[in-house]
Symmetry: C2
Subunit: 311 residues, 2 copies
């Protein structure tokens, strides 16, 4: 598959890891990375796109590997002053990161689409491969919890994923369609990769963009997903907790069930090898390998393995 | 006059110095500082009010004394990244300063007036005395130069006051009136102080706010102005150059002529003592003293002298 076109769907940290591995192997023409924007939010009037930024900073080589968000060597002078000014500063934005949001907001305000803005930011960071938002329109993940409805960031950051999740909803205040880059990639790619991202909070918003689920069901090429749940827990983030709270099995099987009709090959970690046959009964081929990606070498190894599968 | 109400009109650095002196002597109830906003401008979509900030940072004790703008110990991480992103970064905005503009823009976007926003920022910086913008509406100083028309900041910062000035204009895209605090101070103050600010770029915009010139002509109390031109040159900034280019005398006399009908007492520096009689012929009383204000002690001394004059 190394000369084919690949479309990778990604959320935050896990998605960014595999996206980096794919980027290191594939040339610019052969890879499109489409990123969840359901957790975009305004802070201080600035448009923040956390998942886009995680992928962008990761591919730009400036991501902070310790936090899983933000930029390496970041400072927080502006944010601390904003706090002094009475602004609501529960969402950490560093001084370098702030520049991204200021510039994004400025360019959006000038009438550019989020795709155009993302392309401009990526170019400035020396990223040659295409990163597209799932949509240039607004589609927001709403987390309905036991205490109240809240935005994804309110759930994830402000409330540290603490409240019990009852359900999720994706709100689109007006018309919403996939971004042009996403549409092209859906039509022209030979391989669709669901990166190991949270199925509810990263993948479902992408699938909620009108028309996308149908296009993926009818995708011309092969479709492969990597489980973000390994050994019964998420590598990072609240995927395990949410699976449990929504009554799903907290395992790669629980994730696989959400990919029925969307995915041909499901990749699980070696530690979950005994679950392979259960997933195969869902109608997917299962590949068992190391999915953890502790370093860039392992990211490339997983990416290469995905590309070299016999679809 | 120490128990009376004082209204001080200020532009940037020179105005901020005398405002600080007055603040150190007068209690909160006795002083209103009204600041030029003709040089406000949007950078990266953020509302920047340079003169308001200079006065606010000065009274908040955080102004950078070396530059005459910005905050002491400032860093420029966000701005450098904005430059990398292709933003037009000729206007220096530090990381702490950026917080001011982000917060101001956010609060304005929420429907607050510039007066309300300024009050909020000042409170956060521990400033008890009232600082008001001249107007809550838009009134922009346009500098018509030999090369083109430009905003004040384009003239002052981007072009370093280099192009020859042909004339100045104050543009108001819609209705413009003095801010409520300015109106109250004009009606209730016993003493009006023109701080030593640029007469064209700092004072004229204030006078250009509809109704203000008439109210100052009919002001109930005494009116005093401090010359920003000392010994034939401005203490700081382009006042001397502009006086010359517009065909005025580059001296405190040239400034005094612009205050005819607006001012009862004109304060000049000791070095200009020989010009006192010329200014008196314009119909103003002249006071000769040290006006330079090299340190806070001298700011208070000048302020005290202004307040103790026998009006």
């Amino acid at each position: 598959m190394e000369n084919s076109k690949v479309l990778a769907l990604a959320g935050g940290v896990g998605g960014a890891k595999l996206a980096l591995g794919l980027r290191d192997i594939l040339d610019e023409e052969s890879l499109a990375i489409v990123v969840n924007t359901g957790d975009d939010e305004e802070f201080f009037g600035l448009h923040v796109s956390p998942d886009l930024d995680t992928v962008m900073y990761t591919l730009g080589g400036i991501a902070n590997p310790d936090t899983g968000w933000g930029i390496s060597g970041e400072t927080f002078r502006s944010l601390n002053r904003l706090r002094q000014y009475g602004a609501d500063t529960w969402f950490n934005l560093g001084d370098l990161d702030m520049a991204t949001h200021i510039r994004r907001t400025q360019l959006l305000g000038q009438g550019n689409t989020l795709s155009e803005v993302t392309n401009s930011l990526c170019s400035s960071l020396g990223i040659a491969h295409s990163i597209f938002p799932m949509t240039d329109d607004t589609l927001r993940t709403v987390v309905i919890t036991e205490i109240s409805e809240m935005s994804f960031q309110e759930y994830f950051v402000k409330n540290r994923c603490d409240p019990r999740v009852i359900s999720l909803r994706f709100d689109s205040p007006s018309e919403c369609s996939p971004s042009p880059g996403f549409v092209t990639a859906l039509n022209e790619s030979d391989l669709l990769v669901f990166c190991p991202s949270n199925p509810f909070l990263s993948v479902d918003p992408i699938l909620a963009v009108p028309g996308v689920r149908k296009k993926i069901e009818n995708f011309r090429g092969a479709r492969v997903a990597v489980s973000p749940i390994v050994g019964g827990e998420a590598i990072k983030g609240p995927a395990g907790k949410i699976l449990r709270e929504l009554g799903h099995e907290v395992s790669c099987v629980g994730v696989a069930k959400r990919y029925v009709d969307l995915c041909d090959v499901f990749i699980i970690d070696n530690v979950d090898a005994d679950l392979a046959s259960t997933i195969e009964k869902l109608g997917m081929r299962v590949v068992v390998t190391n999915t953890i990606m502790n370093n860039d070498q392992e990211k490339r190894t997983l990416a290469r393995e995905i590309l070299s599968l016999d679809y």
